[in-house]
Amino acid sequence: MLVPLSWLKEYVDINIGVDELEEKLFSCGFEVEEKYEVGRDISKVVVGLVKECEPIPDTHLHLCKVDAGEAGILQICCGADNVKAGGRYPLALIGATVYATAKDHKTVEGVMTIGQGKLRGYDSYGMLCSGVEIGLTEDLYEGAGYNGLLVLPEDAEVGADVKPITGLDDWIFDIAITANRPDCQSIFGIAREVAAVLGSTLHEPALDYTETEVKKDGFKVVVDAPDICPRYIGHYVYDVKIAKSPAWMRRRLALIGQTPISNLVDITNYILNELGQPMHAFDYAYLEGDMINVRRAKEGEKIVTLDEKELTLNGNNLVICDKVKPVALAGIMGGLNSEILDSTNEVLFEAAKFMRDNIRKSSRALGKSSDSSARYSKGVDEYTTVMAMKRALHLIEELNCGKVSSTHVDCNTGNSIGPAELKVSVNRVNAVLGITVPTDDIIRILTGLNFEPVLNGDELTLRIPAYREDMESYQDVAEEVIRMYGYDHIKGTFMPTAQVTPGGYNLEQRTQLKIKRALCAQGASEGVHYSFFSPASFDLIRLPEDADERKAIKIMNPINEDLSLMRTTLAPQMIQAMQRNQKKGILSGRIFEIGNIFVPKSLPLSEYPDELETVCIGCFGENEDFFSAKGLVEAIADTLNIRFDYEACEKSFLHPYRTARILCDGEEVGYVGQVKYEIIDELDMRVDSFVAQVSLYKLVKYYGKEQTFKPLPKFPEEKRDLCFVMNKKVTCAQIEKAIYDSCEYVTDVSLFDVYEGMQLGLDKKSMAFSVVYTPGGEELKADKIDEFVAELLKELKEKYDVVLRS
């Protein structure tokens, strides 16, 4: 919110500099996001008095001798039509900064530095300036809009800085207001805080006015929706004369970036910023039936708002109507049909409280917002509503733009706008803070906040002003005390009263980290992808229409379609991650992600869905193949000290012959395979890429498996290398299993060579295994092992037609 220092000073005496004020505001909870001097770009511009002024022949220029005070008498060439001897104008000295304007002399094009110049052969030692050139407009300073020199007052001291004279030395503070302080979304609200933090006096704006005898007979207000409009005040004003607002009001509005329109409209905008209460003025001539009816809109009811847009309403929207039609969208924008025009001569002023969630939701649903709806959405209090109406009527009189009638209608639901009593214990307040704030300071602080504290023993009785709707308990009081007393009084302690508790990761969290570290050791780096993805992800991985994974949870209000579904598989994003890397020229790499997939129990959601922890691995590049990808999966099994089995399978997006299902104790726990070439082509990927996904949630039961030490064998192990020839269809896993099954002493089987070649025959291959026999209670002699091998060979021959390679 923009707050001009000069405006703020109307309500509170401020005798400190702007930096200190910023610090004070910051310390009591109001962050100044930005502050700047109105004339921040203007420097070295002084009051110049033109002593002599002679036209330069055959030009529009004048050669002037200008008294610049301390800077002496300067020769200046001036092209403005209003320059004349005896006039006082802003004079930019050499080295001054002012705004450069376009040919129209109005549009600011940037900041320029004044140097010594020469026009038509005449030296010029500075520049006489227009209002625009020193950053002023007609609204900011009377006369500054003239397309020529800015005429300064007769009493302006020659050689003095023009900034204080023209208000360019004013400061603007942009202050952030937290959501719990709607009472501070106004300049007066901020003034209340400044008065409290500085301990200075607060001056309320004038609220007095005199009602005339005139009445609007028969006028009435009917509120049909008191639940969302607890207060509605209307006051009839007549003999309205629409004109320009006075300079002081226009200047203030201009300082906060608002364009003054006319006295009546400006009053409503002024009060919105001064007190934080949105107001509205209806041209009474266009209100039919001498009444205001506040009600929920009818389904499909239409209104054209001030910005000339037609809106279609429904029962969620609150409207202000006359007897027959809506005339305003409550709290958001007035209707075009009752707009204040130059011809307006009678007006109904409105000050009301509308409930914040209704305005917020309507404003969002209709896509229409305004300064008014922004204030209402955060909350407006009835104390201020009442005050604002008085202020408006006062300003009507002060600006002399109409007469205040005695027709005043106040519809309310009986909420008090008087102070509310709150009793708190001083000890309790201090207990929240952990320090003892001296009681005198507590009293001083709460007095400054107008809480009228009365202390009786430990009990503090407060009278909370109605605009402080956030004050409910001792905790709120503690916050008020400490933000005014200063957070620097809080000294760190280390929970001396707390009990000792065990801490750190639990088994599942530790195991997850172990898996991550194991994958890192295999050269894979950890990535994190969004929990939501695009429906197109399913098509990317060629999921059939009826696949379970397609039953994903939808986000009702996604940022866009691409981020609209809760993911049911991690693979698509992993493929896309590999694609992005390859596009950037990274042609080999390993990535993994551990994240949740989201499986609904029902759609639409009626209970918490399952969030299932899953690991996905992607690897790509010339050095990768199916088996290197499988090696990464094996690293997980090793970490968990479990055994994975694999069997060939098909996956919609993976190579038909290079894809395996991963099993653990017979349960399917994942897959690993090579991404189909069609997908590689579609994504313009450049190298073979592999994906594995393992359902960690199915493996949790193996986490933290107890380890038992096996006594070392007394006798040495025996190793036999066996090379078999078999049909190509026989798998490694089958042979491995047969070897294990053949003899109880087999403790390790590992494949060390595979060969296919003409000499074996087209449908044959050879596989060489290293088999370790570990003896139990007695030594395994060579002839015993020969027996085991012979037995094994017999079985292999019978089962798979496997023979020993000669």
């Binding site: 310390s27 959501a179 719990n180 409930m355 914040r356 969630d357 929240v432 803070l433 952990g434 320090i435 308990s473 905790q475 709120d476 503690a478 916050e479 957070y487 620097d488 809080i490 000294k491 760190g492 280390f494 707390a498 000792v500 065990p502 801490g503 750190g504 990761y505 969290q509 980290l513 890192c520 050269g523 894979a524 780096s525 950890e526 990535g527 994190v528 992808h529 939501f532 949870i553 939808k554 009702m556 996604p558 940022i559 981020l563 809760m566 992993m574 992005r580 890397n581 950037k584 990274i586 790499g589 390993r590 993994f592 992600e593 949740n596 989201f598 639409p604 959601l605 009626s606 918490y608």
Partner: protein
């Protein structure tokens, strides 16, 4: 063999022949082979000499044996000498042939790296774990009640506007804050409670500085006599451990519906130590987290007696810490799995 002269002549001839032959040899291998041939007990010129002992008259046997042994020893010495000479040369050549450029890069088995978020998270868990905090992970999908209502943010509350929420149904949403986890813990457990709750959170915000998904770590302490000073003390400890000794905290008033008082916590800039630099935008302070004393309404809503217990809560943005700690300039870098990013940030 008639006499010793004849023997001398014969042995001398062998000796000369060996000398002659050895002078022609050039490699240790040929020396070895020649030696083998010479010493061969059947056909070798030297090796076979002992076989002839039978033919030697008895009175000469001793002398014969001695002479032959002398020859043998001499030959052995010669061979050893030649062998050593050739071997030394051969080794020299072999070494020379294996000359490498030692400045060429070493071979490292490529490693992968944990995500910056994981690194920060681990560090935070280490710090708080040692202070007795347990780690509780809530769900990413939450109900409106746990994410807002139970955190003193009823439906009409303007604070709901502070966070643009992704809704999945009227009731379910993607949690906007890990604070949602607080309530589950307080409903289940009675104090003392000390937990941190890390996790992904979601807000409908997607621009250069915002990501619709990011990570937070919520902390909660509920016990007897917990005060704002305890919050400050613990945060001082935390920021020094994560950003370095000498870093201090500053509390300033703020607003969160579920804490009262609420504070923003700034740390003194660990780059310029408070002098003002680009990182701290010249202020000497960097905003790192939000915190406060748990609102009694929140405690009471969970069935915890606010007359007996009090607590504090804090929320840390993991990416914010990661970006500050590692100088990462764009939050999007953390979610794109660009290996140039992932392989750069190391533990």
């Amino acid at each position: 063999m008639a006499d010793l002269n004849e023997l001398s002549e014969k042995l001398g001839g062998i000796k000369a022949e060996i000398k002659e032959e050895l002078s022609k040899l050039e490699t240790s291998k040929s020396v070895f082979e020649y030696k083998k041939a010479i010493f061969d007990s059947k056909a070798g010129k030297v090796g076979s000499l002992m076989r002839e002992m039978g033919k030697i008259p008895n009175e000469m046997k001793a002398e014969y044996g001695k002479r032959v042994n002398e020859l043998k020893n001499w030959a052995q010495e010669k061979f050893d000498e030649m062998d050593a000479k050739f071997k030394a040369e051969e080794m020299r050549l072999k070494y020379e042939s294996e000359k490498i450029d030692v400045t060429m890069p070493g071979q490292v088995r490529k490693q992968g790296f944990l995500h910056p978020n994981t690194l920060v998270r681990n560090r935070i868990v280490d710090i708080f774990g040692s202070m007795g905090f347990e780690i509780f992970e809530g769900t990413e999908i939450e109900t409106d009640y746990y994410n807002f209502t139970a955190l003193n943010t009823p439906d009409d509350h303007p604070a709901r506007d502070m966070q643009d929420t992704f809704y999945l149904s009227d009731k379910f949403l993607l949690r906007t804050q890990t604070s949602a986890g607080q309530i589950h813990v307080m409903e289940k457990e009675q104090p003392p409670i000390k937990i941190i709750s890390p996790g992904k959170v979601f807000r409908s915000d997607d621009d250069a500085t915002h990501s619709p998904m990011f990570s937070q770590m919520e902390g909660l302490v509920v016990d007897k006599g917990i005060t704002l000073c305890d919050l400050k003390g613990m945060l001082d400890e935390f920021v020094q451990k994560i950003f370095g000794e000498g870093v201090s905290t500053r509390l300033r008033p703020s607003y969160f519906p579920f804490t009262e008082p609420s504070v923003e916590v700034d740390v003194s800039c660990f780059q310029c130590h408070g002098k003002g630099c680009k990182l701290c935008k010249g202020t000497g302070w960097i905003e790192v987290l939000g915190a406060g004393v748990v609102n009694k309404k929140v405690l009471e809503g969970c069935g915890i007696d606010s007359d007996v217990y009090s607590g504090f809560a804090f929320g840390i943005g993991i990416e914010r810490i990661a970006m500050l700690k590692y100088g990462i300039n764009n939050i999007k870098h953390l979610f794109e799995s660009d290996l140039r990013v992932l392989e750069q940030i190391r533990e």
